[in-house]
Amino acid sequence: MSLKGKAAAIGIGELKPVKEPGDLTALGLTARVAAEAIADAGLEKKDIDGFLVGVPFSDPGMIYPASAAEVLGLNVRMLNQVDIGGASPAGMIWRAAAAIDAGMCSAVLCIVADLNKVGDQRPPVISVQREFEAPYGNLGANCGYAMIAHRHMYEYGTTARQMAKVAVDQRSSALKNPLATFNDKPLTIDDVLNSRMIVDPLHLYEIVSPVSGGAAVIVASPELAKRAKNPPIWLLGAGEYANHSTITYAPSITESPIKPAAEAAFKMAGLQPKDMDLACPYDCYTITVIVTLEDAGFCKKGDGGPFVMEHDLTYAGDFPCNTHGGQLSFGQAGLAGGMSHVTEAIRQLMGRGGERQVKGAALGYVNGNGGIMSEQSSLVLERKS
């Protein structure tokens, strides 16, 4: 069993994130980005027969998929929420392909939208984290990634300048992305290191900014893909893995579950990391990119720091990485932050990268990362020549 070549992305939608949500609602943004993605795919709303959605932090609720589908006026043969944190968008792509391959549906709307505010109902925190984490102030994601960074520095000699380089190169690409939140001025390594320390050793410019926005991808059957108006971007490989939720209880905090996820994705694709023309690793923090490049096999374990210094990660460089600016420059609209890596890979492979187009890009790697390096979902995508 394999999902290789069983479905393709044929359309995308992505809103320019805004800092202040104002009168926006998560469902309103969902409708806007759904319309954009369906039109981009050259489909009509009635063609959508599958629906995978992420529950927004700003409007959480049970039985969310049917409620959101009702708001959109969808009639679907398959629907579900994907609840694997920042890995949800990448995880939606292979789940859509699997449902299509199983004959359940033929065109799946994978969609996430969220606001930069907490709604009337706060998303519940699971009991074990309330009991064993919150009393010590292990709240949010910052602390866990900071502890990963400290341990990585200790084990491998990774430096603050190496981590900062990730934010700097991604900002260079963001300058060519009209949708990016931070696209007005370049960053230097010193700018990053001079920004405020939030959680040692992570500075403000190494941490994603919450914004409001949304993004969507239409995944379609081979029959629909062959007559699509955009070049279809085929799913060649997918892999997923999780071995912890809170980072304290991970087998290792510097070797992540990305390794088995990426290995499975590359194995299914019959390809290797070196075959990729671009990489779109989830980047909630700078350290996340370094660990991902190591564990996905783009460099040796522990060499992520030197690797990002030795390579030009910009769209014009020798290792194009998060050419939309990454979430660090694009902004993180809840789960839509994770979708930005998926949409950027698809956009580049379709040849729609505009001023930041990676020349000749045919193969892309995407990784979605949930929680504190917990849920991992890796994809290998291809534009067939």
């Binding site: 009991s127 010590y136 949010g140 341990r151 905090i253």
Partner: protein, 133 residues
């Protein structure tokens, strides 16, 4: 004395012995009767071998800092007394636990030896914290 306003552990039947021992200023961990692994946090079955033959053992309270961060700006207002040191402590018996190192932030290092102490934050609640050994 000002009122304690930070989150407190809400015990379950599974975890109650751990917190009751902390109130007596004792650190106890579950140990699996089948595979002998020490377990933190308390479970209903061993997360390694899935046995339900679990007992409680008093442990040394010695450990080392597996990793840490100095939280200078907390994501919740109730931790407005930042900076504080949040750490993953690797206990001598094996398990890792989330805790605080009560020390000057600039003195904390990865792999630094630490020793448990018990912080009676309210008359009914004691948190398990660490200081340099």
């Amino acid at each position: 004395m000002s009122e304690y306003y930070k989150p407190l552990p809400k015990q379950t039947p599974t975890s109650r012995p751990f917190w009751e021992a902390a109130r007596r200023h004792e650190l106890i961990l579950q140990q699996c009767g089948a595979c002998r692994a020490f377990i933190y946090y308390p479970r209903d079955r061993c997360p390694k071998c899935f046995s339900d033959n679990l007992g409680w053992e008093r442990v040394s309270g010695r450990g080392k800092v597996y990793s840490y961060t100095v939280v200078r700006r907390a994501s919740s207002r109730v931790f407005a007394d930042a900076p504080y040191v949040l750490a993953i402590v690797e206990l001598a018996e094996g398990p890792r636990m989330t805790s605080n190192i009560v020390a000057a932030p600039e003195d904390v290092r990865v792999e630094m030896p630490v020793q448990v102490f018990f912080d009676d934050v309210t008359p009914d609640h004691t948190l398990v914290k660490f200081k340099p050994a």
